[in-house]
Amino acid sequence: MNNTGLEFEKPILEFEKKINELKELASLLKTDLSSEIKALDKRLLKAKRAAYSNLTPWQKVLVSKVPERPSSANYIDSLMRNKVELFGDRIFGDDSAIIGGLGNFRGQDVVFLGQEVGRDTKERLARNFGLMHPEGYRKALRLMKLAEKFGKPVITFVDTQGAHPGIEAEERGQALAIAENLAQMSALEVPIVCIVIGWGGSGGALGIGVADRILMLEHAVYSVCPPETCSQILWRDNEHAVEAAEALKLTASELLELGIIDEVIQEPLGGAHRDPKLTVYRVGRALKRNLGALLSIDKDELLEQRYQKYRDMGSAELS
């Protein structure tokens, strides 16, 4: 059971609580309450459907940030065999906001990269909440160039509120580090698959997000700016984040329609945080299918397709 504190999850949480109480009672009294539990299970399912079948963009913003939602480390740990983590940019330092290394995914050697928000308070602080510094982008690039040298595809997991906005990040060239990644990723001579698993925060996300295929979890969001910022700019207050979330078109289904992403991965009913195992399994399946398709494409054709994919974005909307 997750206590996410989300208002629209209240009915779900109530049923989950009742079911747990009944289960405890049943074992305590050694009585069979299975028919009562079954009835409640049905109502729980209904409540989940009611809450989750039609989440508003703002509700997705909230769901995408639930702390219990699986993070990059969950996917990497479950999907990568013989994992070897590598550190540092060989210039300045390591950035623990991004995990990177070598692994074997379903028989295919890959280089993986994942923005890691951290799973508890201590880890969140240590990982700077997944906000990367320039050394993180340069570490990512170093590992991608390693992948290219040895012909290994790259898998990236995007989950960040954005690039770190502090003074040191500026002094070490945050903008230049991101720009160089975009340029290099556009021409990297191996397949790249990117999966947006939680929050895709603007340029900070894109810095490891240029890919042949961009997949996105159903309730993940990817936005040019936070809805709160948009609310401040448009309405000059923080009260309109709900409208802003709608206007920005930041949900997976909207981005699929706009041609920004290639595929939406369905989450378990009630969100990824209710069943991390099933979520990871589905991501693995989508990854395998997309990677397989990309590995069969000739290198020059792959690069041409990648260039054209980005070349076309926004062009149709011009007059």
Binding site: L182, A187, V224, I260, G314
Partner: protein, 266 residues
């Protein structure tokens, strides 16, 4: 901001507060004669200053945004900026001669949606780079962009960062020169894409350069060091190649174009 003195309109310098007339500022190409503050410069003035008279041919002059997300208040804002600037969008591209040397040119204008990048800016910059490759010409881009990816076009704007960067990468592989000139402001999605990818990065004095602007930094609550994000601060940290006075810009660009034209592979 405007004082009347003998009926001559004078503008007060935002830095040293000394007032100068429009004519005086025109003579110095909008640089404060007293403190060297470089006023922001619009596209038309920039082209006049840099490109040989009568040689500029504009590309895609009429390309306009169609408000792809139906974003609230966006059409009105575009209309206002079009009227203010006489431009259709925040960027002008084309080709012309710089002291007799041909180049493809892009100029963004801070007055139009803060020089932010939507689908039009991304498309025009990408297309001008592609044309430069076709014609085997060097590229010179002037960025004055306080805004990054334009909020009102959402993720379509963000993806223009990848699109323009991919074009810059192609240009790099084609062995062609990209002179990258920053003036007034260059931030966020613009600086973290094409404006951060020049072979030579030049800034006018006092230009503010970075990823996160004031709004984004508010949450961090750090005391800023002296001159933070100014060109003079960034050159000390190794982020740009040179700082060039506006009055010298054309000559410096021509020298660089000349130097690199000798080594361009056949």
């Amino acid at each position: 901001m405007a004082n009347t003195e003998n009926t001559v309109q004078k503008t007060e310098c935002p830095v040293c507060k000394e007032a100068f007339s429009k004519e005086e500022l025109a003579q110095t190409h909008k640089v404060c004669p007293k403190c060297n503050y470089h006023y922001p410069m619009g596209v038309q003035e920039r082209i006049k200053l840099i490109i040989d008279s009568g040689t500029f041919v504009q590309y895609d002059e009429d390309m306009e945004s169609t408000n792809p997300l139906n974003f609230p208040q966006y059409k009105e804002k575009l209309a206002k900026d079009r009227e203010l600037t006489g431009l259709k969008e925040s960027v002008v591209t084309g080709e012309g001669l710089i002291d007799g040397l041909p180049a493809v040119i892009g100029v963004t204008d801070y007055r139009f949606r803060m020089g932010s990048m939507g689908a039009v800016l991304g498309e025009k910059i990408t297309k001008c780079i592609e044309l430069a490759m076709e014609k085997r010409l060097p590229v010179v881009i002037f960025s004055s962009s306080g805004g990054g990816a334009r909020m009102q076009e959402g993720m379509l704007s963000l993806m223009q960062m990848a699109k323009t960067s991919a074009a810059c990468m192609k240009l790099r592989k084609a062995g062609l020169l990209y002179l990258d000139v920053l003036s007034y402001r260059s931030f966020a999605g613009v600086m973290a894409s094409f404006a951060g990818l020049g072979d030579i990065i030049i800034a006018e004095p006092g230009t503010r350069i970075g990823f996160t602007g004031e709004r984004g930094r508010a949450s961090i609550n750090q005391k800023l060091p002296e001159g933070f994000q100014k060109a003079e601060f960034m050159i000390e940290r190794g982020m740009i190649d040179m700082i060039v006075q506006r009055k010298d810009m054309k000559a410096v660009l021509a020298d660089l174009l000349d130097f690199f034209s000798q080594v361009e592979p056949k």
